[in-house]
Amino acid sequence: MTSATSESSVNEIAALVKKAARGAGYTWSLADEAAYAVAWLCHRGLDGAGAMASHLKHVQGLDLATVRLQSLQQPWVGGPNGLCALACGTALTDALHIELRDLRIDHVISPYLLLPFLAYRNEQLSKRRMRVQCTHLLTPAFEAELISTEALTSVTLSHNSSSNPTEASTLNENESPTANCQILSVDSPSAMSEQPSRVHRTTLGKDELDVLNRLAAMTYAPATEASRQGAGAGTTDND
């Protein structure tokens, strides 16, 4: 981050993200999921708040119905606006009963935000090593290996150009910052590594914080005569 940063508690940022996601147009329920995802990432020392700020800034103003998953049937392919990572993520954990072996999600917006949901799925189903490969289009590419919700063995972010230049070259800067995401199960059971301790603090750049605060403010109702009367104390509240 280039701008000034501030330190926050993870709960504080998760609460802000919930409001910001609602402000960006998600239902309160998906806003809860956004907070869940950010807390999960932050607890593992990852930049969940920054990733969510970018995501919300991107989807704000979109008709979110156009980036929803339309069906659990594979393949999961987004339309012109891409597929929302939160919608895909919640579907991944809702549909634990459906085998989604070697799932490929094409054109997913903010694939980084899939990680908390993939980790949950993997822990519930197999605790086997899962490899997530995201080939970038405009967002940073990354690879992650997950064992369980607690053990994220590696996340490799790459800010380099796409491993698939052909795909990248079809995009221009006005298009969605989406990626193609391949989720691979690796058959060998993982050796359970020691549970890493959680991180309870997170830093956030001023720009990202401004984005979240601005979107959160969209959930606040303009003052009315009734609201100015306060929480019900009446005219005198001093004794």
């Binding site: 504080e12 306060g230 019900g232």
Partner: protein, 587 residues
């Protein structure tokens, strides 16, 4: 009164397991019959709850005494004008926590007990450990600003309090002149200072609750809900007593006397609570289940006591008389509370007569009393009785405090494999009563919970009079559950809910709450939280009763004053003999 033998045998015969979402209690502990959630979770009953052995303040004082906590006051740097800071440290087994109190010179015209005020007489933080000079300097720049300041992971709470205008100056003047203040006046108010907020977990940069629970020492201490807040208020009360003695010494010099211990002990810390607290009960269904379930299990265990000893009857009788005197001296000015209090006085008088009858020697006497109360008393009387009946039985009740936190809901996600028919059943388990409400009618949806831009606090507005619906907070689970039930009728019974939620994600929250209901049946309020006649103070009262609050004094239908820790021993007095039933005032 003759016992209903069919009911008593039913209790004796029933052996069911009771669970909080965290812990399964052994079924052999007692024969248990729990009151159904459809009864207990009605809002008017929740608005009649009383403190009990499981209340968080009482858990805290019992623990401090049992573990022989030591308390010290390493710093008290308050000048003659009442400005400065003080540090109070609680030394618990394996660690320390310190209240850092800042005292300010607040002009009278700026004193307000509204949460949205910007200056206060005193401001506080609870610090994890003992603060260094650098910590205090950092906090001096931030704590007085409250919401506008920043805390670090070393801080656990943030709070503030104002002097009681009715009492402070007159008490200082009396003590300064060498006189004790008028006891009746002290009792009439009940506190020298009143907090307007005690913020906990992660707020304004403070440590997250999860961080405390990750450390074995603090996890052991602070797993119980609101325990850091309860410790904060306990230490604030000690500081306030010391501050008024200091003020009297500054004003009166050698003539001044300190506040007599018996007078000081009767004083608590006031608290003003408005709508900001109201959404909590709706937003934390699993936690609320664990609170209610603990109390209901305790009640059921006591009802299942077959042989009720004379000492137990005597104790309950004494406490009923004590509560009666307290209720007769109720100081509330508000018609809502006055009406409830009148009913309570009448109930308590009838209960005292009922309990003293010879029938107390019958088997399962408490069960008979509860059944009689259910048929003859107001909700206030019923719930006051239920709480008092727990007093003689610490061995049946106190272990339930271990299951009152929520350690599961953050990790419980939707089970998408459930079928439409299964989820519909779950929705109806908590909300079948709501299906008969006409959700198209204005009275049923008259209210709208929202957060105001101006104050950033929860508010309750009139949906059809103000443009608020676009800003509605998700605090009407009954309406949303019925909408989900109706939507699911359009899907085949065997369809999985995962498929439904891809197409209709707007019902996701209702589905999740319904599934939580499988292990948190007391999690959902069985009343319409947006009805035109809904009383927000019922939500406040329910939560505050679990804190252990007393002296409920509503200022309107959505704002209430209470008292915390009146009667409690101060740190230097605390021992295992006085750590528990201090909450019942001695008349």
């Amino acid at each position: 009164m003759k016992a209903d033998s069919s009911k008593t045998s039913e209790v004796a015969a029933l052996l069911t397991e009771s669970t909080s979402a965290n812990i399964t209690y052994p079924s052999n502990a007692a024969a248990v019959r729990l009151r159904p959630a459809d009864t207990v979770m009605q809002l008017d009953r929740l608005g009649s709850l009383h403190q009990c052995r499981l209340s968080f303040m009482r858990q805290m004082t019992r623990r401090m005494a049992a573990e022989r906590w030591r308390f010290s006051r390493p710093e008290f740097n308050i000048d003659n004008t009442g400005v400065g800071y003080a540090v109070y440290t609680a030394h618990y087994p394996g660690g320390e926590a310190s209240l850092i109190a800042f005292a300010h010179d607040l002009p009278d015209e700026l004193r307000s007990d509204r949460v949205i005020a910007e200056q206060w007489d005193t401001t506080f933080t609870l610090f994890n450990g003992q603060p260094t000079k650098e910590d205090i300097e950092r906090l001096r720049k931030n704590v007085p600003k409250q919401e506008a300041g920043r805390l670090s992971e070393k801080e656990l709470t943030l709070s503030r309090a104002n002097r009681s205008v009715r009492l402070w100056e007159t008490v200082v003047a009396a003590l300064a002149s060498g006189q004790q203040p008028d006891e009746t006046a002290l009792q009439g108010v009940g506190y020298l200072m009143r907090t307007t907020a005690v913020y906990g977990s992660g707020k304004f940069g403070a440590a997250d609750r999860e961080q405390l629970l990750a450390e074995p020492t603090t996890a052991r201490l602070f797993t119980a809900p609101f325990s850091v807040e309860m410790l904060t208020v306990y230490l604030i009360r000690t500081f306030v007593r010391d501050l008024i003695n200091h003020a009297a010494r500054c004003a009166g010099g050698s003539r001044a006397v300190t506040l007599a211990p018996e007078l000081a002990r009767g004083l608590g810390i006031g608290n003003s609570t408005g709508l900001g607290m109201a959404p909590f009960l709706i937003n934390h269904p699993v936690l609320i289940h664990n609170w209610i379930n603990a109390r209901e299990t305790a009640i059921a265990r006591v009802r299942a006591v077959e042989v009720v000893h004379e000492q137990a009857v005597s104790m309950v009788s004494t406490l009923l008389k004590n509560q009666l005197r307290d209720a007769q001296h109720d100081h509330s000015q508000h018609p809502i509370q006055q009406k409830k209090q009148r009913a309570l006085v009448d109930d308590l008088q009838r209960l005292i007569n009922f309990i003293l009858q010879p029938s107390s020697k019958q088997p399962f006497f408490w069960n008979a009393v509860m059944d009689w109360a259910n048929d003859h008393l107001s909700l206030e009387g019923q719930e006051c009785l239920a709480s008092l009946l727990l007093e003689p039985y610490p061995e049946l009740v106190d272990d339930l405090s271990l299951g009152m936190h929520d350690s599961v809901s953050h990790s419980q996600r939707i089970d998408g494999s459930q079928s439409v028919s299964e989820v519909t059943e779950l929705l109806k388990t908590s909300f079948s009563w709501a299906q008969s409400i006409d959700w198209q009618s204005e009275p049923a949806t008259a209210r709208c919970w929202y957060v105001s831009e101006e104050k950033l606090e929860p508010r309750l507005g009139e949906r059809y009079e103000e443009p608020l619906s676009d800003y509605e907070q998700p605090l009407a689970p009954a309406r949303d559950a019925v909408a989900a039930i109706n939507a699911l009728q359009n899907w085949a019974d065997e369809t999985t809910i995962a498929e439904v939620l891809v197409a209709e994600p707007q019902h996701r929250r209702a589905v999740q709450r319904a599934q939580w209901g499988r292990y948190a049946p007391y999690g959902e309020i069985r009343s319409n939280t947006i009805d035109a006649d809904m009383m927000p103070i019922d939500l406040l009262r329910a939560k505050l009763s679990f804190f252990g609050a007393t002296r409920f004094d509503p200022r309107s239908d959505r704002w209430v004053r209470i008292c915390l820790y009146p009667g409690a021993p101060y740190p230097e007095e605390l021992n295992t003999d006085n750590a528990d039933r201090w909450i019942y005032p001695i008349h």
